[in-house]
């Protein structure tokens, strides 16, 4: 089994089968990120296909030694933003929230969050601008550092912090409106 660096080298040499192996471990990260960016599973898959094509085409532009995962995130975020711009449907992209809530996997730990609560939290992402959403998803969803997020989004750390702060403020405000008594008051 080849490691990531060997797979990257093989792809750069023109091995198309290595390309699939290289992306395979990240397939769900790609799908989740694009899904939360565009709010619809079918659109997310379309965005991912576009992103995969771009990764395939511009693989030669990847700088060895840098994180491949972050480079891939950058392409997925850009493809998602392109998609949102093209479709110009920021207003109704979250119409599929019910489908989204039904499709989501549940674990025993998340059983306290019922379907209604999940839908409402999905609603909160709607309030964020695409930039705020991307920063929030990368930092709090994917666990990237501010520096890594700044590389992925080609923005300064200062800008990332500003958007992150705004995103968290908006989420808090929205969640407090939805749950005036606190969603998980006893959970802290």
């Amino acid at each position: 089994m080849k490691n990531e660096e060997e797979l990257i080298e093989a792809v750069l040499q023109g091995d198309e089968d290595a390309f699939e192996l290289l992306l395979y471990p990240y397939r769900n990260n790609m799908l989740n990120l694009s899904y939360r960016m565009v709010g619809n599973l079918e659109d997310a898959k379309e965005v991912c296909q576009e992103a995969i094509l771009k990764i395939f085409k511009y693989m030669s532009g990847y700088k060895k030694g840098k994180s491949f995962k972050n480079w891939m995130y950058k392409i997925v975020v850009n493809a998602s933003n392109d998609f949102l711009r093209k479709k110009r449907r920021h207003e109704d992209i979250f119409m599929m929230k019910k489908v989204m809530a039904d499709n989501l996997s549940t674990s025993p730990e998340t059983q306290f969050l019922n379907k209604e609560v999940r839908e409402k939290i999905a609603d909160c992402l709607e309030d964020l601008s695409p930039k705020e959403r991307a920063v929030f998803l990368l930092r709090d969803g994917e666990g990237l550092s501010v520096k890594e997020a700044s590389e992925v989004l080609s923005a300064s750390s200062m800008s990332i912090r500003t958007h992150l702060s705004r995103a968290r403020q908006k989420l808090r405000g929205r969640l407090e409106k939805i749950f005036p008594d606190g969603p998980l008051e006893n959970d802290l």
């Binding site: 397939r27 989740n32 296909q49 989204m100 989501l104 996997s105 969050l113 930092r139 989420l171 808090r172």
Partner: protein, 173 residues
């Protein structure tokens, strides 16, 4: 730091996204300010909820769907860099051919600048026929000077007129 400033930093303090100096200032303030502590707890609850939602509510890509998507992307890529294109139209070659054509074009356009003024045909003829005017002829472009030779059939007398661009007679040295 006052409460207003501390509350501005709280969204970043929650995720440990502040510099260590600011983080310490916020920590010290929270220890002594009940109102800010309540604010902090409200942030912590909401961000915890959102983070849990993000980490637990995920979608997964089935094997079949994943393979189809990759195959589609591969087919798209193959289409965009088709092997049927003749060699001059393949990207690398196209740039090389265009570059060569441009170099040749630039050479022909700028060629007169590299040639000596004596290479103009009119000038050469003028200087060959009238070597005494060579210096003058070389120093002027063919458009500036015109020579006219009149030969008498009877006497064989030859008169050479050198005219400038205004058709005024040039002075003979």
């Amino acid at each position: 730091m006052n409460c207003k400033k501390i509350r501005k930093y709280l969204p970043l303090y929650i995720g440990a996204d502040l510099s260590s100096k600011k983080k310490e200032a916020v920590r010290v303030h929270l220890g002594s300010c009940g109102e800010c502590q309540k604010e902090y707890e409200a942030y912590a609850r909401s961000i915890k909820t959102a983070k849990e939602w993000l980490s637990e509510n995920t979608v997964t890509w089935g094997e079949g769907g994943w393979r189809r998507t990759v195959q589609n992307a591969r087919a798209e890529k193959a289409k965009s860099s088709s092997g049927f294109a003749p060699w001059p139209f393949k990207k690398g070659w196209a740039f090389a051919v265009m570059g060569a054509v441009m170099v040749v074009a630039v050479f022909f356009i700028t060629r007169p600048l590299f040639l000596g003024v004596e290479d103009f045909p009119g000038q050469t003829i003028l200087s060959q026929r009238h070597p005494q005017h060579e210096t003058r002829a070389l120093s002027k472009s063919p458009q500036d000077v015109v020579s006219m030779t009149i030969v008498s059939k009877d006497t064989g007398l030859k008169v050479v007129w050198i005219l400038n661009k205004n058709f005024n007679l040039e002075e003979n040295e």
